[in-house]
């Protein structure tokens, strides 16, 4: 095989994966029982993609990512409720705050590795939870923040009314599309290669001359920023910010979504989020014991799809493409 041929092909896949996912997401609400579920999947898909940047690509398992989702939600919500900011500015405030909290938490947490890293992120995430819980006059405490409403507005001559679920879906899709494009570029960049190298072997990445600590902080902040955007959009979607946004169960959901879909793949987290939320929607209408059912389903998926649903599909596709019995190597920009 010619090297240039492979690179051209991979380049093509790398460019088209975003187009492919967007084409699918454009018709997605038609496939769902109702639009709010589609919006939820969009938002949590983005959240899981942001989380996967750290977990699947860099190999760092954070249990504190609810902090970024929640901070994004709260700061956007508070900007609208208390400061009456323009919605776009409110989103910017939420995302910037999540990035800043990511910088602080990342700076402390990356000094540790493995389970200690997970525990430190969990603990710092809980600190953020209690800080927002206690700041009742600003955040509404355990009742959450209410009244995050945006009056109908015009974008590029189009009137957007966020109380219309379909309009809301496409409004949010615009932001998700931008974020996915950005993540895709990052993963295909030289920096994307460095974080994968760090996941594979930190010692060797250091010996190669890469500043592992700095790379880890950067990817942590990027991941927090993406999750913060998901949180911001969620505040606009729900019109309230529930205190649960910051709860560690929310952090755990990111892990489950990534594992269900396939960690370290581009679409995997999105697929995982879709499966998780769709099942939740179906099962909660049948029984109150949703968590017991999801536990069983999760175990089944881990047993039969250890690489996640999307990851297993990708592996099968690559095997048949290369006709190699061994596990396929990750080439250039990685699998879609």
């Amino acid at each position: 095989m010619k090297a240039t041929g492979v690179h051209a092909l991979m380049d093509l896949v790398a460019r088209h994966r975003v187009v492919a996912v967007l084409a699918f997401l454009l018709v997605f609400p038609l496939l769902m029982p109702y639009e709010a579920l589609a919006v939820n999947i969009l938002i949590f898909g983005l959240y899981a993609v942001g989380f996967n940047l750290l977990f699947g690509y860099t190999g760092m398992l954070s249990f504190g990512h609810a902090a970024f989702l929640g901070v994004g939600s709260y700061l956007t919500g508070m900007s609208i409720v208390h400061a009456h900011l323009h919605w776009l500015l409110a989103i910017a405030v939420g995302v910037a705050a999540a990035a800043l909290v990511g910088l602080l938490i990342g700076h402390l947490a990356i000094r540790t590795r493995g389970i200690y890293f997970s525990m430190v992120t969990l603990a710092l995430g809980q600190i953020v939870y209690f800080a927002f819980y206690k700041a009742e006059s600003w955040t509404g405490g355990e009742n959450g923040l209410r009244g995050v409403t945006v009056a109908p507005f015009e974008v590029l001559g189009l009137r957007v009314d966020l109380t219309n679920p379909i309009a809301k879906y496409y409004f949010i899709l615009g932001f998700v599309a931008l974020a996915l494009g950005l993540v895709s570029r990052i993963l295909a960049s030289p920096f994307g290669a460095v974080i994968e190298a760090i996941r594979e072997n930190e010692k060797r990445a250091l010996a190669c001359g890469y500043d592992v600590a700095r790379s880890k902080i950067l990817v942590f902040v990027l991941s927090a920023t993406i999750c913060g955007l998901a949180g911001s959009l969620r505040a606009l979607h729900l019109s309230v910010v529930p205190i649960d946004s910051l709860h560690y169960l929310q952090s755990g959901q990111a892990v489950m979504m990534c594992l269900l879909g396939g960690m370290g793949t581009f679409f995997g987290p999105f697929v995982g989020a879709a499966i998780f939320l769709y099942l939740e929607d179906v099962v909660t209408s049948l029984t109150r014991h949703w968590m017991a059912v999801v536990g069983a389903i999760f175990i089944l998926f881990i047993l039969f799809f250890p690489r996640g649903v999307w990851g297993s599909l990708m592996a099968r596709w690559q095997r048949s493409a290369t006709r190699e019995p061994s596990s396929p190597a990750v080439e250039q920009s990685g699998p879609a």
Partner: protein, 252 residues
């Protein structure tokens, strides 16, 4: 010292000592390594070879003393800085990026000199890096395995891959910790041949406990024993050294 030009010295340890708690792993080692030489650090198990290797390669910084590279004090620099100064290493235990292809392993290593914090441009556009990786795979005899996962390669092939990765940084100094550890006799011969070739263009420092292996190909030998510098010199001088014969050769 015997009046060598200072510019000829590539890396130098000055009165390096290392303590681990109460254990004195190295005491007061001063050694100079000249440019474009193949040099081996030898000694029985526990002599302090690996500790000395780790200090030269920047994995640990010494309790006392300093390391100088091209006339510059590099003691205590971060490990990735060593690589950027032109010091590369291969580990005693193979360290490759197992899930990545052989080509991507070398490509990432070669990319360091071109783009470290580039978030936005497709890495596929760095075609010079990709072709350098291919050339290096060719050189260590792995070109036919370029798309295979590094973790699927045989042990000897992984070690060769590691050498290609170390070379990708175009180092002036290549440090190798027991490069033939765990290799078959055939693989050992190939590796020693490769090392000899590499030393023609740059300084190579090996840590080795199989003395016979390095006697024939090294210009200089450093003998450590109980954390002290026992002797240094050409293979002939080392062979003739009564002290070395007593502690080392005597044991077989």
């Amino acid at each position: 010292m015997n009046g060598r030009a200072a510019s000829d010295i590539l890396i130098e340890a000055r009165q390096v000592s290392q303590r681990f708690g109460a254990f004195q792993a190295l005491s007061d080692i001063s050694v100079q390594f000249r440019a474009k030489q193949l040099c081996a650090i030898i000694g029985p198990n526990g002599a302090g070879k690996s500790t000395f290797f780790n200090i030269l390669s920047g994995s640990i910084s010494p309790s006392a003393g300093s390391v100088w590279f091209k006339g510059q004090d590099i003691t205590g620099l971060a490990q990735h800085e060593y690589a950027r100064h032109g010091i590369a290493k291969s580990f005693q235990i193979t360290n490759v990026f197992k899930q990545l292809s052989a080509h991507e392993n070398v490509r990432v290593a070669a990319q360091m000199r071109h783009a470290r914090f580039d978030f936005f441009n497709p890495r596929a556009r760095l075609s010079a890096v990709a072709s350098q990786a291919d050339a290096l795979l060719e050189r260590v005899g792995l070109a036919h395995l370029r798309n295979r996962s590094a973790g699927d390669l045989a042990h000897g092939q992984q070690r060769a891959l590691e050498v290609a990765m170390a070379l990708a940084a175009e180092p002036q100094l290549l440090l190798m910790d027991e490069p033939t550890a765990g290799m078959s006799p055939e693989e050992t011969v190939v590796m020693m041949g490769l090392i000899t070739q590499l030393a023609a263009e740059r300084t190579v420092i090996l840590v080795e406990h199989k003395m016979k292996l390095v006697m024939g190909i090294c210009q200089t030998l450093i003998v450590l024993h109980h954390g002290q510098l026992l002797a240094q010199g050409s293979p002939d001088e080392i062979r003739a050294n009564a002290e070395v014969r007593r502690v080392y050769l005597g044991q077989g």
